[in-house]
């Protein structure tokens, strides 16, 4: 469904590439996570994957067509995106904001039909958020709001879901809940998922495949156990770690610095 092959990109006026020779492929029922320290090019990767930016080298295709050549309207029927930030200007209820996700399925002058409202109900159900349907957005907690945003992306009835740092400001319970939700969507609804995250441990637990970036370059890609080795993590993140295994997946535990070399 989504395929990046040998993609490189440099922002105008920048001194180095934001992405360099990155390849990635996401199909149905696959959960891919992209990891890396700050400034490693993760958000640039999402923009290129969605056609908002055009790669200078290589290709980014969605369903066989170049991502940037897709009309926005049609692409939105395939790919649902939950960006990092949302700046909602006007007060809204949950149901109204999820209904916005039906835009790619509506005609110019046509009204919302029963099937649109049904899709909204299904999306809310998938995210376990039906009980929030009539609430005002500003009354929701961070975790609830995040679920609503995922529900809106689901209302588009996409085949691919892209999330950019969705767990950023969530507490433990809500972050775990979010990852469980996404895993469930992959397994039950057959979605393909591409998620940018900085949480290595949760990515390792829930994702099928990891891509580790550093300075725009791919350092390692593949199954979590192959990618997250102690040596790799310590090199990329410049911090000593210890590795453990939980549920068959590698988990890293950052170590404290020895007394003498503490800043």
């Amino acid at each position: 469904m989504l395929r990046l092959a040998g993609v490189s990109y440099r922002y105008p006026g920048a001194s180095r590439d934001a992405l360099s020779a990155v390849s990635l492929s996401v199909g149905p029922r696959e959960f891919h996570a992209v990891l890396g320290p700050n400034g490693s090019g993760k958000t640039t990767l999402v923009r290129i994957a969605l056609g908002a930016l055009q790669p200078l080298v290589g290709r980014a295709d969605v369903d066989g067509r170049s991502a940037s050549s897709w009309p926005r309207h049609d692409l939105a029927r395939l790919v649902g995106v939950v960006p990092q930030r949302e700046d909602n200007l006007f007060p809204q209820r949950v149901r109204e904001t999820v209904l916005l996700g039906r835009y790619p399925h509506l005609t110019l002058w046509g009204r919302e039909r029963a099937e649109d409202h049904a899709a909204v109900d299904r999306a809310l159900a998938s995210c376990d958020a039906q009980h929030l349907a009539d609430r005002w957005l500003w009354t929701l907690s961070g975790g609830e709001y995040q679920r609503v945003r995922v529900a809106r992306a689901l209302a588009q009835e996409p085949k691919l879901l892209v999330l950019d740092e969705p767990g950023m400001s969530l507490d433990l319970r809500h972050e775990m809940g979010l990852f469980e939700l996404v895993r469930g969507l992959v397994e039950m609804n057959g979605l393909g998922v591409l998620m940018i995250t900085h949480d290595l441990n949760l990515a390792a637990r829930f994702a099928d495949s990891l891509l580790l970036l550093e300075g725009g370059r791919p350092v390692a890609a593949g199954a979590p156990a192959e990618v997250l080795t102690q040596a790799t993590v310590e090199t990329v993140f410049s911090w000593p770690v210890a590795m453990q295994t939980v549920d068959g997946r590698p988990q890293m535990i950052p170590l404290r610095q020895p007394k003498e070399s503490r800043p």
């Binding site: 926005r72 995106v81 200007l89 006007f90 916005l100 790619p104 509506l106 588009q156």
Partner: protein, 317 residues
């Protein structure tokens, strides 16, 4: 229910505009009166059309620049129109339509300049319209045009040009069936463009990036909304000078009852803006009869307290 109420209010405003006025026309004679048919009726209709256009343009612009303080005249159009009008008088251009045409051309020139300023990255497909720069550019171009206008007035034969400023303050005195026909032929297209952009404008409230991911062609929507709103404002200035506060306050008032969905908000803003301006014009003609106030003064006197009340509501909520 609320739509019925709004339509009733609009009709009442129109009827009052036709029935009331400084020239005492007794009710039985209303339908036969020359004054009513040739002066009050076209004036009432023009007020409604101009007020409605400003209301819709204001709502569209507030969504486009994501700023609830946006007013159609923030885009520099009034400065351009004033400069055009003053130049027409200073150059002794004659003809009954010289002033409106000159004002319209001036407004378009300002529109073009601000648009060009707001386009980042060239005019082709790669160009993106930055709403913040539209606002800043509009203020700058408007101030620049106003400065040139003031210089011309100061240097040239003063008396006629001072009267031009009175025209600029807003007035529907020039209303006739000719101007009504002109506006009726002109406004449907920009209004239709704005109405067609209702859903994308809803999406735009989430931010440009999110709107794009939900399927809106963000750049095309921004350009169309900006141009349509500006064209509506330009024709309003050309036929009736600068009438402030309608485009700013009416969208907020209407949002209280109709919410933020533009499919309902835009038509309601049209009816509400039309009713408001027709009502304000009636006041302008009657409160100090036989004299008349510039209608821009009346809308400001109504608009400021209403806006203050709205602000209180926001800060309390």
């Amino acid at each position: 229910m609320r739509w019925t109420l709004l339509v009733v209010v609009a009709v009442l405003a129109l009827v009052a505009s036709v029935a009331l006025g400084p020239a005492a026309v007794p009710l039985p004679e209303l339908l036969h009166s020359d004054i009513v048919w040739n002066l009050r009726a076209p004036r009432a209709l023009l007020a409604f059309l101009v007020g409605g256009s400003l209301g819709v343009a204001g709502a569209g612009l507030q969504a486009l620049v994501r700023n609830p303080l946006a007013d159609p005249f923030l885009l520099g159009l009034s400065g351009g129109a004033g400069l055009g009008a003053v130049l027409a008088i200073a150059l002794h251009l004659s003809g009954p339509w010289a002033l409106p045409i000159a004002a319209f051309v001036g407004a378009l020139a300002a529109l073009g300049l601000v648009y060009r300023l707001g386009l980042i990255g060239g005019t082709g497909r790669g160009g993106a319209l930055d709403p913040r720069i539209l606002l800043l550019g509009g203020v700058a171009i408007g101030a620049f045009a106003a400065a040139i206008t003031t210089a011309i007035v100061a240097l040239a034969d003063a008396a006629e040009l001072r009267n031009a400023f009175l025209w600029l303050w807003g007035g529907l005195s020039g209303a006739s069936w000719d101007s009504v026909l002109l506006v009726v032929l002109y406004v449907p297209i920009p209004l239709a463009v704005l109405l067609a952009a209702s859903r994308p404008l809803d999406l735009l409230a989430l931010g440009e990036e999110s709107a794009g991911y939900l399927g809106a062609d963000v750049e095309a929507v921004k350009r169309r909304v900006y141009l349509a709103a500006s064209l509506l404002t330009a024709v309003a200035v050309a036929v009736s000078g600068v009438i402030g506060f309608v485009g700013l306050v009416v969208p907020h008032l209407v949002r209280i009852t109709w919410g933020h969905r533009h499919r309902a908000l835009l038509p309601a803003a049209f009816l509400g803006g039309g009713a408001l301006l027709a009502f304000a014009d009636t006041l302008a003609r009657t409160v100090v009869a036989p004299r008349e106030l510039p209608v821009g003064v009346v809308t400001a006197l109504i608009g400021v307290p209403v806006f203050a009340l709205l602000l209180r509501r926001w800060t309390i909520a």
